[in-house]
């Protein structure tokens, strides 16, 4: 259902963009502050900076990147909320910031306090272990977890809830270890500090090399790389870890400004030869553009779903 909704929303958003004649004329009032919710140097940060670089080359807009990290993007959300909504400030978060994290933080804000501009790429979120563990599939892992609790690495509270629900649905116990960022999960799994963990695309090279194995897809659809791996919905968990990188602005960003940003970003990340397109294709399996009203609908949807997930996990 959600998939259809997302697809419909995406189609709606794209059609809205094509009519945005006004968007062509809009130019930013000056240099644009680009807040980035990710640690400097990581894949997400590089993506944001490359998009800014491409926009500077293509349109001559000037960006000043600034790191506003921490609290799963909530620090950025709270900081950008009170910035002017004239297109002089935008930020890059993940949809989870506007969904689960905003719900959990209970900081008195909802997705309506922000303008969703566009997504750039989705995650290939899998449940991954070292292939040297000897597990060829999800069931092998569960069989071992029957004996002793396994260590399950996660990089966000939402994923911790999902790991907990997965254990509950499968009748096993996981020792859930929260770390900061997908790379930390991968390092932990590689070092043997964790038996398995969520990885949002970073596992691609390891899986291809045969060192890591995707035990399951944490998405509402199969993983591109391991389509035979079961999805969470097949494993008794009615939630998923679907998510995207998302550009946001404070609420009240004029529609022509929003659409100008969305069009410009959408164009650079889907154009061959652009640095950001190259990077997104390599690191995140290609761009996914859900823009404008569709993006806003998507985050509202995630925000509502987060409430249900929390309720389920706290039972």
């Amino acid at each position: 259902m959600k998939r259809i909704l997302t697809a419909a929303a995406a189609a709606l958003g794209l059609s809205a963009l094509s009519t945005g004649a006004l968007a062509q004329d809009w130019t930013p009032p000056g240099p644009i502050k680009l807040m980035i919710a990710f640690a400097a140097g990581g894949g997400a940060d590089t993506q944001a900076r490359l998009i800014a670089e491409d926009l500077e080359t293509k349109l001559g807009w000037q960006f000043i990147p600034e790191q506003v990290t921490g609290k799963g993007g909530m620090n950025l959300a709270m900081a950008i909320k009170d910035e002017p909504s004239d297109g002089s400030v935008i930020g890059m978060v993940v949809t989870e910031t506007m969904g689960y994290n905003m719900m959990a933080a209970d900081a008195g804000v909802t997705p309506d306090d922000f303008t969703a501009i566009t997504t750039t790429a989705g995650f290939q979120m899998g449940i991954v272990s070292l292939s040297s563990k000897g597990w060829t599939g999800f069931d092998d892992m569960i069989a071992e977890a029957q004996g002793t609790p396994l260590r399950f690495g996660v990089m966000s509270p939402k994923l911790a809830d999902l790991a907990y629900l997965l254990g509950e649905a499968q009748g096993v116990e996981f020792n859930i270890i929260s770390v900061q960022g997908g790379r930390a999960v991968m390092n932990g799994v590689n070092a043997g500090d964790m038996d398995l963990g969520f990885m949002a695309g970073i596992q691609g090279r390891g899986v291809a090399a045969g060192e890591l194995v995707n035990l399951a897809s944490a998405l509402s659809e199969p993983l591109v790389q391991t389509p035979e791996a079961p999805m969470l919905s097949d494993l008794g968990v009615p939630f998923n870890a679907d998510g995207y990188f998302l550009f946001i602005a404070p609420a009240g960003l004029p529609t022509e400004a929003r659409d100008a940003f969305a069009t410009a970003i959408g164009e650079v990340i889907t154009t061959d030869g652009m640095k950001s397109n190259d990077m997104i294709t390599k690191a995140f399996g290609g761009p996914t553009v859900i823009a404008g009203d569709a993006a806003q609908a998507l985050v509202s949807d995630y925000f509502d779903a987060a409430g249900r997930l929390m309720e389920a996990a706290s039972e």
Binding site: A40, G41, G42, A79, A191, A209
Partner: protein, 528 residues
């Protein structure tokens, strides 16, 4: 991918990195140029009393990052520059000590004892040659030990230590640093505690911002650069400015002494120095490998050991009256600390001195390289980019050593004039550069206020005799400690006794307790 493949990839990463310009058709990589520039700057900075290597590293870092950006390509040029400063400053420190009897850094104090008498005898050039030769020898020896030890230690840690043991090891390191850096273990612990407190503002796993006093400014925590530069650099500048105000006397200079022309060191002289250099290099390397014990202690021990040996030999002039052996022992000891200091940095992620703090800061800010045991992980057929960077850094250090042996001596001997730069001009420039460079990196005004506030804290700590280094190291390791402890707690199925759950972690915790207890018993007048 074997170890040798990584060594080769590391060397290639330095030489074939982004090209700066090409010379006779051969591309010169930007990393090489940066090492050279850092090295020359380091010598100049080390030769200037009132400046020190870490200061230059601190100011250079944000400026370099704004030039090179946050891409992995930036790691080697930026860190190569910083390593160059570190090495240059190490040999430069002897210049004012020998020529003007003013040690540029505390660890060069022992160099004045024999260096300045030699200058008064007209043998300044020779003294500088001895200092350069011993310093470069000690430094190179230390680097070789680092390159051989760090990967090995990292592999051992990664293979045998689980999360609870890693948490215990971090606690042990912090306790050790607090106990040995300052004279008083109590003051060390205060400094450490304050550092941890600062590290915990605004961080943590909950969505609710911790210790932020309900303000948005504190909710993001303190910017690392603001805290580290504030306490280490701005605090130091505040102290020195006050010293100048209090003490306006001018130091006597020795410009009028006629210096001898023939200054070459003969082969026999060098052979005579070698035992002193060798011993001091071993002492310095051993001390450097332990986090927190600085080059000052290494210099003191190196000098003392040389003194015993020299007395038995019955040579003249006596040590302290201008014996080249004294300079050799001191300079070899304090220089051999710098390489070995990176052993805990690269294998455990634990910085042991201010220079190491800035190298970790560079790695953290740029991203893509996280000093710690995971750096030296073999990943089967895939390339571990962090290990390539690590061996690239080793290559940078060896290039810096090569520069040191070839042009370092000449450049160093020409740096005497740096000592004439008046402090009342120098310090405000340092202050302004620090604040500017922080604004360049953080681009928000709050970062400047934080820097000034932490500068005042650094000033207060120095005036109260509290070493600011445990503060900075605790601040840098605080997040790591909390995460490792939380992860260890979760991984053991929420066992509250996870710190004493295995033989290794019990050993680490017992060592922690005994270090604190033994330091408390240490007599107060023990040498620093």
């Amino acid at each position: 991918m074997g170890w040798l493949d990584y060594v080769w990839l590391g060397i290639l990463a330095v030489f074939q990195g982004p090209e700066m310009f090409s010379l006779f058709g051969i591309g010169i990589s930007v990393t090489l140029v940066m090492i050279l520039m850092g090295f020359l700057l380091g010598i100049a900075v080390g030769s200037t009393p009132g400046l020190a290597g870490p200061m230059a590293m601190a100011i250079a870092l944000p400026i370099l990052i704004s030039i090179f950006g946050f891409t992995p390509d930036a790691l080697l040029p930026v860190m190569g520059f910083l390593l160059g400063i570190m090495k240059g400053a190490t040999i430069g420190g002897a210049v004012p000590a020998i020529l003007f009897n003013t040690p540029g850094t505390p660890d060069a104090y022992m160099t004045t004892l024999d260096g300045y008498p030699m200058t008064r005898r007209g043998e300044a050039k020779k003294a500088l040659r001895v200092a350069h030769f011993s310093s470069a020898s000690g430094d190179t020896f230390s680097d070789i030990v680092l390159i051989l030890c760090a990967p090995f230690l990292a592999v051992v840690v990664e293979r045998y230590l689980d999360l609870p043991e890693k948490a215990a090891l971090l606690i042990l390191s912090l306790a050790f640093i607090a106990a040995v850096i300052s004279n008083s273990v109590g003051k060390g612990l205060i400094s450490l505690g304050l550092g941890l407190l600062a590290a915990y503002v605004g961080t943590g796993e909950d969505f609710y911002p911790r210790l932020s006093l309900d303000t948005q400014v504190l909710a993001q925590g303190f910017p690392v650069a603001a805290v580290v530069l504030g306490v280490l650099i701005v605090g130091e500048v505040f102290c020195r400015l006050e010293d100048i105000r209090r003490d306006r006397r001018l130091k006597s200079s020795s410009g009028d002494i006629v210096q001898a022309k023939a200054t070459r060191l003969s082969g026999a002289e060098l052979r005579g120095l070698m035992p002193y250099i060798g011993r001091s290099a071993i002492i310095g390397t051993a001390i450097g490998a332990l986090p927190g014990i600085g080059s000052t202690l290494a210099a003191t021990l190196g000098y003392a050991s040389a003194q015993r040996r020299y007395r038995r030999s019955g040579k003249t002039p006596k040590m302290g009256d201008g014996a080249p052996e004294g300079i050799a022992a001191t300079e070899a000891a304090n220089s051999s600390v710098s390489g070995a200091n990176l052993i805990p940095v690269l294998s455990l992620g634990i910085p042991g001195n201010a220079a190491a703090v800035f190298l970790i800061l560079a790695a953290e800010t740029i991203g893509g390289f996280n000093p710690g045991p995971s750096v030296f992980r073999q990943m089967g057929d895939a390339v571990n980019p962090e290990m390539v960077i690590a061996f690239g850094l080793f290559t940078c250090m060896m290039i810096a050593n090569l520069l040191n042996w070839t042009i370092g001596g000449v450049f160093m001997r020409s740096m005497g004039f740096m000592s004439r730069i008046p402090k009342h001009v120098l310090l405000p420039v340092v202050l302004l550069l620090t604040l500017t460079s922080i604004y360049v990196q953080e681009t928000r005004m709050a970062a400047i206020w934080f820097t000034v506030a932490f500068g005042i804290l650094g000033y207060a700590m120095r005036r109260l005799g509290i070493s600011p280094l445990p503060f900075v190291i605790a601040f840098i390791l605080g997040g790591n400690l909390e995460q490792t402890a939380r992860q260890a707690f979760a991984a053991t199925g929420c066992d509250p006794l996870f710190l004493v759950s295995s033989a290794v972690s019990i050993l680490f915790m017992a060592l922690t307790a005994s270090i604190i207890v033994l330091s408390l018993k240490r007599p107060k007048e023990a040498p620093e």
